[in-house]
């Protein structure tokens, strides 16, 4: 019972961040902020959902001798989440890098201080 509740909390918070990422992709003004929303939201929410699945697998775990295959499933799920930790931010970074190389200008409000002034071509 308590395991179900903990895993449900993880999965629902993951879905919450998924929804945040989707809203961010739709509502943010330019390429960079949208990619930012997609990258951060997707990474965190995938991690939370997969961790929730891994915790749910512990349900019914009584003795190590009889139930060790459950640990194998948890190991696989955690490997997937480690893979996502490495690859998802990298792909977001690659996407932003490609956009910057294609001279995709970020949208900046008039009068706002930013680091894209006169001496900004040092990338």
């Amino acid at each position: 019972m308590i395991i179900s509740i903990i895993s449900a909390i993880f999965i629902i918070s993951g879905l919450f961040f998924f929804a945040g990422a989707a809203i961010g992709i739709l509502r943010f003004p330019d390429f960079y902020t949208r990619t930012h929303a997609a990258g951060k939201g997707d990474t965190l929410s995938s991690l939370l959902v997969i961790t929730g699945f891994a915790i749910y697998q512990l349900k019914g775990f009584e003795s190590f001798a009889a139930d060790w295959p459950i640990l194998l499933v948890i190991f696989k799920l955690l490997s997937v989440s480690i893979f996502i930790i490495f690859t998802s931010p990298t792909s977001t970074h690659a996407l932003m890098d490609a956009g910057w190389e294609e001279h995709n200008e970020p949208k900046i409000m008039e009068g706002r201080p930013n680091h894209l002034g006169e001496d900004s071509d040092q990338f």
Partner: protein
């Protein structure tokens, strides 16, 4: 232009014939279709046979792999040959279309290569870590095709994708250094040869083409069932070789217009 018109006509006619053929199929999941119910006065149900007898025949729990690599192994062999032929065709087309000696094009390519080129340390490091993991997982998919979803085609695609990732993250030369053009075409041919070799050896031992059961004395197995199981693994390895090599060959030729220089 005219050739495109004729090509379009040929494609439309072929597609129409295929759709016409699909129209004659029994509907999806129909319990009275011949494969599910058998033919009256003729053969028994094929599906029933596969579901009940696959494990007794070949000790392979994954029926899909057994059907793919054993019961209809002839079909899968020519699927592999189709992959091989597609790779060769793309290689030939790109080599004759991509004019390597055109000076204007070369200048343009040089520009696109140097523009915005800086040290991609994050992408390079991550790909260096990820590529070996992808390759080990691909080997797992190939070897575990008997017991879980997977097999030669899927594992081969993963292996090819790992080389493509290497080429994307640094440049094509880094990948070609590890798998040169000579080597990948040799691997593609060796893959088909492994598959056909299993069939031919069975033929020399007095059985039908691709009838793996008679390979038992060569594979030192307990019975013809295990010989079939091990031969399926061998055949899947051949498929994986071909698919990996052709995947990478298609990427390398398409991304450089057949010149194998610079790349994306």
């Amino acid at each position: 232009m005219l050739s495109k018109v004729f090509a379009t006509i040929a494609v439309v006619i072929t597609g129409g014939l295929l759709l016409y053929g699909v129209y004659d199929f029994p509907s999806f999941g129909d319990p009275n279709s011949p494969p599910n119910a058998g033919v009256e006065g003729g053969a028994d149900s094929v599906s029933q046979y596969f579901i009940t007898q696959t494990y007794n025949d070949s000790k392979v729990p994954n029926i899909v792999t057994a059907v793919l690599a054993d019961y209809r192994g002839y079909d899968t062999m020519f699927e592999t040959v189709v992959v091989f032929a597609a790779g060769i065709a793309i290689f030939c087309i790109m080599r004759s279309l991509g004019n390597a000696n055109d000076p204007a094009k070369e200048k343009d390519e040089m520009h696109s290569f140097t523009h915005g080129d800086h040290n991609r340390i994050i992408i390079g490091t991550t790909c260096r870590i990820v590529v070996p993991i992808v390759q080990i997982f691909a080997l797992y998919v190939i070897a575990h095709g008997h017991y879980s979803p997977g097999g030669g085609f899927q594992g081969g695609v993963l292996l090819g994708a790992s080389f493509i990732l290497l080429a994307l993250s640094s440049d094509l030369n880094a990948a070609l250094k590890r798998l040169s053009e000579k080597n990948y075409f040799a691997l593609a041919a060796i893959g088909v040869l492994i598959y056909a070799g299993f069939g031919l050896v069975a033929q020399f031992l007095g059985a039908n083409f691709l009838e793996y059961g008679v390979l038992q004395p060569l594979l030192f197995t307990d019975g013809p069932e295990m010989a079939r199981s091990h031969s399926m693994l061998g055949v899947e390895i051949g498929v994986a070789f071909t698919v990996m090599a052709i995947m990478f060959s298609i990427y390398a030729n398409l991304s450089t217009r057949g010149t194998l220089k610079n790349g994306l």
